[in-house]
Subunit: 297 residues, 2 copies
Amino acid sequence: MKLRELGEDRLLARLLPSLPIHKGVIAGAGEDCAVVEKPRGNKLLLLKTDCVVEKIHFALKTNPVWIGWKAMMRPLSDFAAVSGLPQFALITLIVPAQRSSDWVKRVYRGLNRAAARFDVSIVGGETSSTRGPAIISVSVSGFVERNRFVARKGGKAGDDLFVTGRLGGSLRQKHLRFVPRIKESRWLTQNFSVHAMIDLSDGLGADLPRLARASKVGFNIDNDSLPLNPGVDIDNAISDGEDYELLFAISPRDRNRLQKEWRNKFPKLPLTHIGCLTQPLNGSTSQLLPGGYVHFK
Amino acid sequence: MKLRELGEDRLLARLLPSLPIHKGVIAGAGEDCAVVEKPRGNKLLLLKTDCVVEKIHFALKTNPVWIGWKAMMRPLSDFAAVSGLPQFALITLIVPAQRSSDWVKRVYRGLNRAAARFDVSIVGGETSSTRGPAIISVSVSGFVERNRFVARKGGKAGDDLFVTGRLGGSLRQKHLRFVPRIKESRWLTQNFSVHAMIDLSDGLGADLPRLARASKVGFNIDNDSLPLNPGVDIDNAISDGEDYELLFAISPRDRNRLQKEWRNKFPKLPLTHIGCLTQPLNGSTSQLLPGGYVHFK
């Protein structure tokens, strides 16, 4: 059945019963606002929103379950970047009226699965029709302990730079099916002092300069050390984007213990020392990388 | 200059300095997540997201400042509906690459003005290009005191139904320039026991049945009592939508005091007794109204 025939109230009635809801939700989808308990203890609130746009972030023929998965996981990757835990998600679905309700249901299946993977409750949302491409926007709130929040700033000259996983070639499949590094990030801040961190969404070539600028330092990367996905070259690893891996800065004093404990804890996920932060050169970064994916270009 | 030529980082660099930022913001736009202080005391968190879509909620030729204003005020109207206070907003801007950066700047001027009106900080956001119509999605978090949260449910048979302001004809101008009834809603819950409340976004004909269904009661409206905007008829008042006025249920014992104190407090804004909630008839609502605006139709 087409959305045009179904209408919003009946669409919501079909979707709402299957939404994942965890503790702390006082009023979820169906109220004017979602109402939730605030986190206990000495914690900070985290807020993030992100979206996927048809023909930009996914194709018309993409499996809708993976579209939903990606739409949820993108903002969750930003929680990994600051070492936070996501809790509550709101979904905005903007869909052409002639799209089938089955397509929407499958998108929600992906959203639900991705949310459930990290105990995230879907507490509300909004639907609208459009005369253009479909768009799924997901905004997520959660928390981080005050002493575990990691920003882009905070990196120091001399810090080691590490990346998780492998880079490049994400468009083949990983950009739809990735799992945000929340578990890894939480483990890192529980066991180490991470000075600065970012998730690689636009590619190392765009995101490393952002971390360096925020930290007011330069950087030096050993290109040959970059962990490559099969079949990609160094340019891909730097520029493709959508890796959703973590890049972080940590004192070289922690290098050996980090590498050893990481191998024990996450034996299947590489952790690679790719370079270091340096003194800033005239306030600019010390090594120019090719650009990552630049929006609007 | 077109967005295509400007690029995302430079666009953000132009927009960020003018964003309204109030207390409680630890890290705003520019970090991977916004980081904010949680509310103190016995409060609940409120989360809401909403969007405006070109050709659906605004026209290509609409003044971009009013587009931004409307995009911010729509979710804030939902805070009014539950008697909450909004605090932090995230903006998602999805715009064709050939759109001018001046258009975006003017949209942000409207977003900023609307946020500042209610002391809301804009703490982050996301930009993406699209091959379709422009979309502005705004998600807002805030709080409500635990004993002042008003839901759609909670209305009782016999309750009086009141609406603020006047209904109908919103498309002429009000749908772009309305001010959410946050101040009025906060005053109501400070001084009265409001049983159930909703903001009229889809029209009385759609929103009143939602309140009644959630409260498991029927309703009875005196159509001739409806407060009409100039030049509209009763059908407009019921079906046009986008009134962004409050509809609420309150004990008839409070009627006289409410009407008197309201006139003193808000002399320029009508408050109209339009009917009452009734016993449910076979679990359905007791009076059929013409439908309000139905999405996807």
